[in-house]
């Protein structure tokens, strides 16, 4: 699956929140075309890792290298412009904008037209607007009947919980990234929906050529779709490898302590 080219390299990454080490000299790589899942008990630093990559928390030491150049010192919008997009654990849509506007606004860093073009209604402006709209509809189209049709001009607030999660992924896709960071994409979904989304994650890689890193607690999703599993504990890398190896690793089971049944269930089924 992976081409052997590291898209993302995390080197000795430490994030210090006033004495609390959320991440402690973490090292990991993500290779092109891979689907990597990040697991670990609560407070292991998974979301902090995502926040650090997307420049939303300051890095204490270490380096984050994306496609050969460091992301340190960039603003979140510059990171996104480089080709990294994320979703949020607690869905954060622009709920009062329409569904289409949500995916249109996400193309901001891929488009150019400014105030002057809009005021003069130039040809460049109009063609870019059409392009943005078409791209938005294409991204939404990926989710099939769920997000397209009469709903496109409805505000995002009418969407059901599961569809909000889908729209958030669509919005991240609209930024035209190389690497997608999905923070618990199936949290709160029912088994049917989460199975469907798991398949979609696979298709995102196969059809859209995204490299994907996702945080997940649902072990069946992790098992079904990830090429590699990275386990974090107390801000440190516990282990990484195939799901089959990781899930029976005694250290992982110990880290989950009390939650080990989840893993056993998943293995059994």
């Amino acid at each position: 699956m992976n081409s052997g080219v590291a898209v993302l390299e995390i080197r000795d990454l430490t994030i210090d929140f006033g004495g609390l080490k959320a991440l402690n000299s973490l090292n990991m790589e993500v290779y092109e075309g891979e689907i990597v899942s990040v697991i670990g008990p609560n407070g292991a630093g998974k979301t902090t890792l995502f926040n650090a990559i997307s420049a939303m928390v300051p890095v204490t030491s270490g380096d984050i290298v994306f496609e050969g150049s460091s992301l340190l010192g960039l603003d979140p919008n510059q990171v996104t412009a480089r080709g990294l997009a994320r979703t949020f654990q607690n869905v954060r849509l622009f709920t009062n904008m329409t569904i289409l506007e949500n995916v249109m606004v996400a193309q901001h860093c891929r488009t150019r037209q400014g105030a002057i073009g809009a005021l003069l209604n130039t040809r460049g402006f109009r063609s870019e607007e059409d392009q943005i709209r078409a791209q938005g509809e294409k991204v939404l189209g990926f989710f099939g009947s769920r997000l397209v049709g009469f709903r496109l001009n409805q505000p995002a607030s009418v969407l059901s919980y599961a569809n909000r999660r889908r729209l958030e992924i669509a919005r991240a896709m609209a930024t035209q990234p190389k690497l997608l960071l999905l923070d618990e994409p199936v949290a709160g979904m029912n088994p049917v929906e989460s199975a469907e989304l798991t398949r979609l994650i696979g298709r995102l890689r196969d059809e859209w050529d995204f490299t994907i890193v996702f945080i997940e607690h649902d072990m069946s999703v992790v098992r079904d779709v990830s090429d590699r599993v990275v386990v974090l504990n107390h801000g440190e890398l516990l282990t990484e490898g195939d799901y089959a190896d990781v899930s029976v690793d005694p250290r992982v089971i110990e880290a989950y302590l009390g939650q080990d049944t989840i893993i056993e269930d998943a293995t059994a089924s």
Partner: protein, 612 residues
């Protein structure tokens, strides 16, 4: 309050609260509302409003605006007391005697406030702290017929007012609406006297105006009768027509909708072009002032309404625009006086204000929420103090300001200045049109979407690739430039600029206009400016009700509070804003229309089709 509590006289359903308790509650509510109304009455009386407004007759020798104010309160309270909280599943009893009784009592309590005031006014003199504790007030309240009459008459007026208010509930809706329309139209036509009389005279019907309005203001008896009759007939038979027409226009789609919209715009433009030709200079002056504030409000609307940056120092850009235009066009400007033609100066105005916007915006924009608001407030004052300072008085004349600023020369044809308010209005109109176009185009562009995203969730907007600092700065600068247009016209209209024209109060008034009209809504902002500035007046500009000028700020405040409680989205809100503030209702409506999706239903359906 449930239906049974409302009507202690009838036998309630047994499972509901015992009637004895309900009666207690009703009494308590009645006394409370009456007492609040009484306090409001006394407060208004002591604010000096009635005495001042007594000079403004509504109907000659019968009713003055002062009495309208204090007389309306018992009616309102009498009406409110009978209001029932509608609860699903609880039957609403038919309005009846209870409403009348409760209304009368509450109204009487409200009136009693004034009765007590009359008694106190007669026996004590505390004019020292309370300026309006005056013989004139006593005279007004007692109708010049002694204390006893004053005490009794207010009890009576309160009771009758409350009775009328309660009685309104018993009338069929159609009749009620007709009566209310008649009353409001008469008051409105009387308030708009200057405008209406001017307009009627403009179309050479002075005799009609003379017949409508008394010589010293106010409607004549026959005039009031005719107006009430016309309004009544129109309301009774035209009920719902307007609403239906609006709904029809809104239901149009595609080219038909575009045609309807352009027709509306053309009509409005035609009216705005024709009306100033018909009215005199006083009304044109008023229209020009309203226009200047529309321009300011449209500029602020981009900053506050679209990008969600709460700018409390917006007056800074008005000031910078004014001073730049003044310095560049006036011959008397202290340091540099190139005496540019106004339109040349305007180019510099745009550049200078843009730069000042960048300069102020760059540090400010990195802050959020309250911090940002406070800092903009500070910058608004700093700019004014700079113009006032001795340090820069060599440039801007300090407290003396810059005077003898020439008018706006338009291609050598005519010069527009303060002596030609009609010209000023047309000039303002052109710039308002520009501002409207700019707001309208930008809202529907890539930039407008970015502003919306920033307003909704700045952190996420940033993470989705929007350079929030840049787009916010751009909103700040666009708003600043629109405000500076207003400033540049203002300087050449008034002919002089002083630091005292740019008090923080101006910022507040513009903000109130935007909030009152409806944030983010172009039509709303224009309506807000027309109503507030046109009727009540701007910070220094008189409105149609010049008598109100002392109480302008009090009324602004009261209106704002009421607006926030009753209609936080503003007078004519943008659809988006309404959704934001009434999300629950909106979702409920959408659900009823079947537009809200549920997880189970269609989730499983599409699951089935997708399954291999």
């Amino acid at each position: 309050m449930t239906a049974t509590e409302m009507r202690p006289g009838t036998a309630p359903e047994p499972e509901l609260a015992p009637p004895r308790r309900a009666l207690d509650q009703n009494w308590r509510r009645l006394v409370r509302m009456g007492a609040v109304a009484a306090l409001v009455e006394v407060f208004i009386a002591l604010s000096g409003m009635p005495v001042r407004l007594d000079e403004r007759p509504v109907i000659v020798s019968i009713l003055s605006l002062g009495y309208v104010f204090i007389g309306a309160i018992p009616i309102v309270v009498g009406n409110r007391i009978g209001r029932q909280v509608r609860r699903e599943g609880v039957p609403i009893h038919k309005a009846g005697g209870y409403e009348l009784l409760a209304g009368t009592l509450a109204g009487a309590i409200a009136g009693a406030g004034l009765s007590v005031l009359v008694a106190l006014l007669t026996h004590f003199d505390i004019r020292e702290p309370l300026v309006n504790w005056s013989p004139q007030l006593l005279e007004l309240l007692s109708f010049n017929r002694g204390t006893v009459f004053g005490v009794l008459i207010w009890l009576g007026i309160g009771a009758v007012g409350g009775f009328i208010g309660g009685g309104l509930r018993l009338l069929p809706a159609r009749l009620r609406r007709t009566l209310l329309t008649m009353a409001t139209t008469v008051v409105l036509i009387s308030i708009l006297e200057q405008l209406v009389a001017d307009l009627v005279s403009g179309v050479r019907l002075e005799s009609v105006a003379d017949w409508f309005y008394g010589r010293r203001g106010g409607l004549t008896h026959s005039g009031a009768g005719v107006i009430a009759a016309i309004a009544g007939v129109a309301s009774f038979f035209g009920r719902g027509r307007l609403k239906a027409a609006r709904a029809h226009v809104q239901s149009l789609e595609g080219p038909a909708r575009t045609r309807a919209t352009s027709l509306m715009i053309l009509l409005t433009a035609a009216v705005l072009i024709v009306v100033p030709m018909l009215v005199g200079s006083l009304t044109n002056e008023l229209l020009a002032n309203v226009g200047l504030f529309v321009l300011l409000a449209l500029g602020l609307n981009i900053v506050v309404g679209l990008a969600g940056i709460l700018d409390l120092g917006y007056v800074a850009f008005f000031a910078v625009g004014s001073y730049t235009a003044a310095v560049l066009t006036a011959a008397t400007s202290p340091r540099i006086n190139p005496e540019f033609p106004w339109f040349v100066a305007l180019i510099f105005v745009v550049i200078v204000t843009g730069l000042v916007g960048l300069f102020i915006g760059a540090p400010v924009i990195r802050m959020r929420g309250d911090y940002l608001a406070i800092v903009t407030l500070g910058f608004g004052e700093i700019i004014r103090l700079l113009f006032l300072s001795d340090w820069l008085s060599g440039w801007f004349g300090g407290a003396q300001g810059i005077t003898a600023i020439g008018g706006v020369e338009i291609f050598g044809i005519t010069t527009v200045d303060g002596t030609n308010p009609r010209g000023v209005f047309y000039l303002v109109l052109v710039f308002c049109a520009i501002a409207i176009y700019v707001s309208w185009r930008l809202e529907r562009s890539r930039l407008g979407r970015a502003w919306m995203a920033v307003r909704e969730d700045e952190t996420v907007a940033e993470a989705m690739g929007i350079n929030t600092v840049n787009v916010k700065l751009l909103a700040f600068v666009v708003g600043a430039v629109l405000g500076s247009f207003s400033g540049a016209i203002f300087a050449n209209k008034v002919g002089s600029v002083f630091p005292s024209s740019f008090l923080i109060l101006v910022s507040m008034v513009i903000l109130v206009v935007v909030i009152f009209g409806g944030m983010g809504s172009i039509v709303g902002v224009i309506a807000g400016a027309a109503l507030l500035i046109g009727v009540l007046g701007g910070p220094k500009q008189p409105g149609l009700l010049a008598e109100f000028s002392e109480f302008k700020l009090l009324i602004y405040g009261a209106l704002l509070v009421w607006m926030m409680l009753a209609r936080p989205e503003g007078l004519i809100p943008s659809a988006r804003r309404t959704r934001e503030l009434h999300q629950e209702e909106f979702l409920q409506d959408a659900w009823l229309r079947g537009e809200v999706d549920t997880d189970d239903g269609d989730g499983n359906e599409s699951e089935a089709t997708e399954r291999p």
